[in-house]
Amino acid sequence: MRPSLRTLAGLALAGFLVLPLLPLVAWSVARGWRFPALMPDQVSAQAWTFALSSQAGVLASFATTTLIATATTLLALLVGLPAGRALGLYRFRGRGLVLLLLLAPALLPGIAVVFGLHGILLRLGLAGTMPGVILAHLIPVLPYMTLVMTAVFARFDPAFEQQARSLGATPLQTFRSVTLPAIMPGLMIACLFAFLVSWSQYLLTLAVGAGRVQTLPLLLFSFASAGRNDITAAIALLYILPGLLILAVTARRITGRGAALTERLHP
């Protein structure tokens, strides 16, 4: 009884995730699909031909978006890993305040900060540049990174590190052989979150990038708002690709368990 119920639930979940994508696939190859027709009049590759042509800028934009999301993730990791360790392992004065400040960008609506931010970056000469957009993306990305890493380190037992050090390992060796394997699954999840949060930014990119940094969400919206369902669908399918890819690559690793993880909260 139990396995079949689980299979059913799994199938339902998969269907729930996949079904909304099917109309996208149909739209991307549809030519003349009007109400009340159930199927498109004709099947055509015109949307894909356009989306993949160099003139459309979709591929260039794909590269830009990947670069920005990757850079944002790596930068966030530089800050989020030590911050998460400090917040997860130690009790210190003002810890609640730090957590609140870290959460603030996730709680505040983006539109409230975006215009002030544009002004600041403009004065710094960073508006309309890729570094400017990466900096701006760090604002919504850092809370995710830090909070996930805080949760990871809250279950981390530093006694394992002390053991390694007492056996003569250097700090770097300790990190590589003890700490990193233990936090790897959590680290993967944090990076996945960070990448996808940056990948899906629209408003921040539009305002800070001043239209010159063309990420995929901007391009997608430009066609969606012009009523080109076929091209929008083709770009949308390209858009979800990295998310699926990263998930497929990391799925196995994020379920792993490390020896240095304890189930209880470390004091």
């Binding site: 010159r212 430009s222 012009a226």
Partner: protein, 404 residues
């Protein structure tokens, strides 16, 4: 990481061949300007919703710029030029006077007025462009953008005239003037709607009703007049409130953009769409979005025409290259290319008689898309565009009296 960030920073600024000083350019000859322009990059912010227009700009125009001048054209797709006006304005407020992010904008109407009023446009250079000679600046419809004098602050690109589209398989005999359109709406409940202002196209439809209510455009031309507006507007709101229960969804809601109206039309939920640029009808049919039986028409009491332009912001760092782009866009060859229905189908903004024989023959040989009413037919009954102040008053009045 720091090093790659620094590289990124360098990459993003190194490409600028700085020609921010517009006054210096105005003192130069065209050959000198072209020399300055070589190797430059132009960030052209334009509505990006049509793949064919995009392909014309990123293909034909960009290829010629690269081949002839070594200029890189970076087409920046946008959804609303008003956002870009605000962007240039915030750059000005932040003191960015020579390193703006926008080099060229596709613009007209209220957005042009905003830019001109706030001194955001680079002005007084258009006579330097060799192809400026092809422009008939004596034509008031070219020299004035929605009633605002152009004053050398922008360069015409296309002329358009408002037209209606219908599916000839559904509506065989569409109404040909506003009065009979209003009757048709009442006789066919739920089959008509218009985008709510301030949508550009919805606002243009309103002006046709306003001109109808005024009994012709004459009393509405010239600067804004509150007394005339009050009487005419009252009649207009009465007409629009009278037809409201007969509109799509009984007028409880309106489409907010012309894109939504186009989608309603494509799906047969309403029987008419309309556009300032009738070439869009042909493009929609070619894209497979609209039925092949789509036809379009003007009104016997006239439809409003206007011109759209390209403008260089005051703080563009690539003014020389942007001027070369504008000059190329004005050339007979480029205007002919975009007049081809499979490319765009846009009517030229230049005086055809002033172009060379090849361009003239090419334009004469063009057969407009069957779904697009020929510009010459529309031109037989043309209405002038009202000044921008009227537009603001109409849009505000509609929201208070009809769309409430």
């Amino acid at each position: 990481m720091l090093r790659s960030l620094a590289t990124l920073l360098l990459l993003s600024t190194a490409a600028l061949a700085d020609t921010a000083d517009g006054e210096a350019l105005k003192a130069m000859s065209w050959d000198q300007i072209v020399d300055k322009a070589r190797g430059g990059t132009v960030n052209w912010f334009m509505w990006g919703g049509s793949d064919t227009i995009n392909a014309y700009v990123s293909g034909y125009v960009a290829d010629r710029l690269r081949a002839d001048y070594g200029i890189t054209l970076n087409r920046v797709p946008i959804t609303d030029a008003a956002d870009i006006v605000n962007q240039v304005l915030s750059e000005k407020e932040a003191g960015v006077t020579d390193a703006g992010s926008v080099d060229l904008i596709w613009i007209n109407g209220e957005n042009f007025r905003s830019m001109k009023q706030a001194d955001l446009a680079f002005c007084g250079y258009t006579d330097l462009l060799p192809n400026d000679a092809l422009v008939n600046w004596d034509n008031p419809a070219i020299a004035n953008d929605f009633g605002v004098p152009v004053d050398g602050c922008e360069v015409p690109w296309n002329t358009v005239q408002f037209a209606f589209a219908h599916d000839s398989a559904v509506v065989t005999d569409p109404p040909r003037d506003i009065a009979s359109l209003l009757d048709w709406i009442k006789a066919n409940p739920g089959r008509f709607t218009y985008p709510a202002p301030p949508d550009f196209t919805g606002s243009a439809f309103l002006r046709h009703v306003l001109i109808h209510a005024a009994g012709g455009p004459d009393s509405l031309l010239g600067p804004f007049d509150q007394a005339t507006f009050d009487t005419t507007a009252a009649k207009t709101w009465a007409i629009l409130n009278e037809i409201e229960p007969f509109l799509w969804r009984e007028g409880a809601t309106y489409p907010t953009t012309v894109t939504q109206l186009n989608e309603l039309f494509a799906n047969g939920e309403v029987d008419f769409s309309f556009n300032y640029d009738p070439a869009q009808f042909g493009l929609a049919v070619q894209a497979g979005t609209w039925p092949e039986t789509t036809r379009s028409f003007g009104l016997t009491d006239g439809t409003i025409g206007n011109t759209n332009y390209t403008l260089i912001p005051f703080n563009s760092p690539n003014k020389a290259a942007a001027m070369v782009v504008q000059n190329l866009l004005l050339s007979g060859e480029a205007q002919l290319e975009k007049a081809k229905p499979e490319v765009w189908g846009a009517a030229p903004a230049i005086e055809v008689a002033r172009t060379g024989p090849e361009v003239q023959d090419g334009l004469a040989a063009i057969k407009t898309h069957p779904s697009v009413v020929p510009a010459a037919d529309l031109a037989k009954a043309a209405l002038p565009e009202l000044q921008a102040d009227w537009l603001t008053a109409i849009e505000k009045g509609w929201a208070e009296n009809v769309g409430n």
